[in-house]
Structures are given as C-alpha cells and as structure tokens.
C-alpha cells in the first residue's frame, strides 16, 4: 500500500488536519488520530527564486488537498505539468512531504486499485516512481 499520512480528526466538526495537532482550530475538542492516503489535488503552487535562508533555490511549494480531507504543504522537484487541480501523490522523505505528478497511467492504476484490484504491485510502482523523483532531487533544505 501507499504511505499513509498521520493526521487528526475533530470529533465535533469532522475537520481533518495534517500533521496531527492536539485540538481542533475551531473547537476546544481533543482531536482523534487518523491516517489518510497520500493522494490528492493541487490547491495551488508557487516557485520561490529567493527562498528564505536554509532552502535551496528554486523552491517549489504546493498546497495539496488530500482525498482524506486534510490540506498539506509539500515541496516538489519541479512544477512542470502541474496545474491547479492536478492529481498528485504525496510522500514523506526525511520528515518532509513531497508532491509528484500522477500521470494518466498512474491515475488509471490508482483507479483500478481503488476499484478493488489487489493492486499492491501497482501501488509499489507508483511509490517507487515518487521515491525516484525525490532521491534524484538529492538532499533538500535543512
């Protein structure tokens, strides 16, 4: 299976946030731990050519709405082919979340996996593709 992303859910309003937090931002209610799939849609993205100290330039930054409800800030190796609404996979590498584009083939595989296919090999392919992209990115920010 793909990496699961640790998150929190508010028992009162159902809001899901990531990374996990102790209290709902809009209710003084203790959050419940949940895990959500690392797939989602790009809400927006930008590239910084003069990022803050400690970050490599250019810095590709995206806000991704995960299918499980939470929105997550992610780094990326590039934004080529990415648009608002693009389907992406999100994966944690070295305690930093990275997004990568899901191509037509990946999306089809994901669909069949979701449709009930055993799909473990497919998920592994998607995942290793993601990992390859990030490893190629080398050491990211500190």
């Amino acid at each position: 299976m793909t990496d699961l992303i640790p998150a929190s859910k508010c028992p009162r309003c159902g809001r899901v946030v990531a990374p996990p937090i102790p209290f709902c931002p809009d209710h003084p209610a203790a959050m419940e731990p949940v895990s959500i799939d690392g797939y989602g849609e790009v809400v927006s993205f930008t590239t910084l050519h003069s990022p803050p100290a400690g970050f490599r330039s250019p810095l590709h930054l995206a806000l991704v709405a995960l299918d499980g409800g939470a929105r997550l800030f992610c780094h990326g190796a590039e934004t080529k082919g990415i648009r608002v609404g693009s389907r992406v996979a999100v994966e944690e590498v070295g305690q930093v979340y990275y997004f990568s584009h899901l191509g037509v083939l990946d999306r089809a595989r994901l669909f069949w996996r979701r449709a009930g296919d055993r799909g473990e090999t497919v998920a592994a392919i998607v995942k290793s593709a993601v990992k390859r992209v990030w490893r190629r990115g080398g050491d990211q920010d500190t």
């Binding site: 990374p19 910084l48 100290a53 929105r71 780094h75 608002v84 930093v96």
Partner: protein, 375 residues
C-alpha cells in the same frame, strides 16, 4: 455607549527615514494632537508590531509616552501583527465608547528600512504558522499561492491584478505622504521580477518607515467612527477551505456594518490592505463593495480609480503610500478622515462615508472601520 469622534489626524511621510521610531511616532502624534487642538490626551494606545526585533526596544508604550512628554498619561501597546494599527484604533474606540476616557491618542509606527530585506522578510514571516514556515513559506510565497488560486478559480487575470498596482501608484503620485510618488506603467508591473510565481515585484508593497496617529474623543465633531469590527481565521493557511477569500475580512466587515447600522452600499471611498495587489481584489468582494467575481473587471474599467464610481486606496494604498506595519492600519483611517473632511489635497474625492480595511498576518486578524461625516 458613547459616540466616538475623530478630533484630529496626522502622519509622517512614509519611506526610508533617518529618524528613530520614537521620533517618527512623536512627529505623527504631535500632528494629530495639533489638529485636534489638544495639549494632552487622557490615555495613549501605541501600535508597534515588533520593535523588540526591528529596533531592539521593549516596553514601547512607556518609551513613547516618556519621549513625548506624556510619562504621566496611561499608555499601553497593542499588537495583531500587520494590522496592529487597526487593533489600536479598536482599543482607543472601546475606551472612549465605554466612558473610560474622554480623549485617547492612538499612534502606531514601525522602523524597518535599516535592516537587510531578508531579515525584514524573516521578521514579518514569523506571523506565519510555524509548520508552514518550516516549508519555506514566507508572506510573498503564501501570496503567490493565493494569486495562482485566484487566477485559476475566479478567472481574474494577471493584467487585472497588475492594474491595481498601476492605479495605486497613480494615486500615490498625488500624495505627499507616500513612499512612492511616481506612476508606473502596466508593462513595468508585468515585466518586473518574479518574486513568487505568478506574483511579481511590483505586485508587492515596499518596506517602509513611518508613523500615523489619530485623536479619538467623546466630544461631538464632524466625523464619527460609525462601526468597527474584528474578524479572525486560523493561523495555518492549510486549515482553511478557501484561498480566494478571507473569512477574517468577511467577519470584520459584518461586525462593522452591524454596528454602523448600514451596509457597503453607503461606502463612497475605501482604503484596503493591498500588501499584495491581488489582495485588493479579494478585499473588494469580501467587503461587499463589488459583486462576487467582478473586482478584476471593475478595476480594469477604472471604477476604483480616483475619478471612478468607488475610489479605492486614494492614498496609494500599501503599494505606493508604503507599509510601515503598525502605522498602516492607522494611516488608512487618517486618509479616510482627510477625505471625508475635504482635506485630501490633489487626491480629494467626494465622500461622506468611508471604510478602512487592515489585514493582520496572512489574514488571521483583520479589522474593518467605518467613518461617517455627519456635519
């Protein structure tokens, strides 16, 4: 509740200033007190976002009061990030409205230009959620995300966004207090350096020094504070459902209109928080001044220009007047007051009701203030 009036307003020229922050604050305060013909206020509310880091000074309300010869006057400091000036007006308003004081001096300022730009960005960026900051999110980065989402979701164009900067520079060219007093062309904005794709340098407000002040009083005058409201949202941008409108603005506006007993239809001039040009378009719709989806076209059509149906940022806004953080929320109200009094010189527009809108952080703590000229 006691009606609250503006007795006097003053500000320094914004821009790169050599004077110390206490000197700038005193300059603005003396101008406002002079206009109000008041020797000493009963209380002082000071706005400064971060004097500890910007100039290495603390206990700033006492420092300012002592510096101006008001060590005996009760003084306190208020802070809500980049909207600290708006918050200070609220506290002064509340003190007069509650009958605690007959007159309150509200003064705010910031001194930033002596520091290198990356250091200033880092200090302002501390008002961003720590997790998002750990990903390299800065104010321009978040504004870049918002700009792209705005273009994708609402159909606003980069040209319409850029026209905000062109208009505000044109207004600033008529304002002797403005940081920038020269017009810029649409091409110059569109060709300026990319800061946070698709946001460009000329879409962003400058780093400025300056101070602004108001004298609030219970004694009836010409212009009253008809309404004032605060709106809030999550510190983390990722907790929000939308990037293309600000709940904090909508709620602040709702509270201000409710208190005033009238809505956006009576507003004839407004100063809005255009720290980034697209924020002016978002504000126009969140404040109900322009129908949803129409802000870009209205701007391009000249409706918000000085001679338009609804002049927005006649001062030049944050873009051209400049943005010395805690001074800004007060300077906006100073401008609206001058407009209503007919004292706005070469940028005067006809208006009896005006609005000021200030954003704190990435729209986590916003203020809307309504002024009305009644006599």
């Amino acid at each position: 509740m006691t009606e609250v009036w503006i007795a006097g307003a003053g500000m320094t020229r914004f821009g790169k200033r050599q004077e110390s922050l206490p000197d700038l604050v005193a300059e603005a305060a003396r101008a406002a007190l002079g206009a109000a013909q008041l020797e000493a206020p009963e209380a002082i509310v000071v706005a400064a976002m971060n004097p500890e880091e910007f100039i290495g000074e603390g206990n700033f309300a006492s420092q300012v009061a002592t510096h101006m010869g008001y060590a005996h006057v009760p003084a306190l400091r208020v802070e809500t990030a980049t909207s600290s000036g708006g918050a200070a007006v609220y506290v002064g308003f509340a003190a007069v409205a509650a009958g605690l004081h007959r007159s309150v001096l509200v003064v705010g300022g910031e001194k930033m230009t002596h520091l290198p730009t990356p250091r200033v960005s880092e200090l302002i960026g501390r008002s961003i959620d720590p997790h998002e900051r750990s990903y390299g999110a800065t104010m321009p980065a978040l504004a870049g995300l918002i700009t792209r989402a705005l273009i994708a979701r609402t159909g606003v164009t980069l040209k319409e966004i850029s026209q905000v900067a062109v208009k505000n520079h044109a207004n600033g060219a008529r304002n002797p207090y403005a940081h920038f007093q020269e017009p810029v062309s649409l091409d110059a904005v569109l060709e300026s350096r990319v800061v946070a794709d698709p946001l460009r340098l000329y879409h962003c407000c400058p780093i400025s020094d300056g101070a602004a002040a108001l004298v609030l009083t219970a004694d009836p005058g010409s212009v009253r504070i008809a309404g004032i409201g605060q709106g809030t949202d999550t510190l983390a941008v990722r907790y929000r459902g939308s990037l293309v409108s600000f709940r904090a603005t909508q709620e602040a506006a709702r509270a201000a209109y409710r208190r005033a007993g009238f809505g956006p239809e009576r507003v004839e001039v407004a100063e809005v928080h255009d720290a980034f040009a697209p924020f002016e378009l978002i504000a126009l719709e969140d404040l109900g001044l322009v129908p949803p989806g129409k802000a870009g076209r209205a701007t391009l059509a000249g409706e918000t220009a000085l001679d338009g149906r609804l002049p927005i940022n006649p001062s030049g806004g944050l873009k051209a007047r400049g943005h010395p953080l805690a001074a800004t929320g007060i300077a906006q109200i100073v401008e609206v007051f001058w407009q209503l009094m007919g004292e706005a010189g070469g940028r005067q527009v006809p208006a009896r009701v005006g609005l000021a809108h200030s954003i704190g952080g990435l729209a986590t703590n916003n203020w809307v203030t309504l002024l009305e000229r009644v006599r």
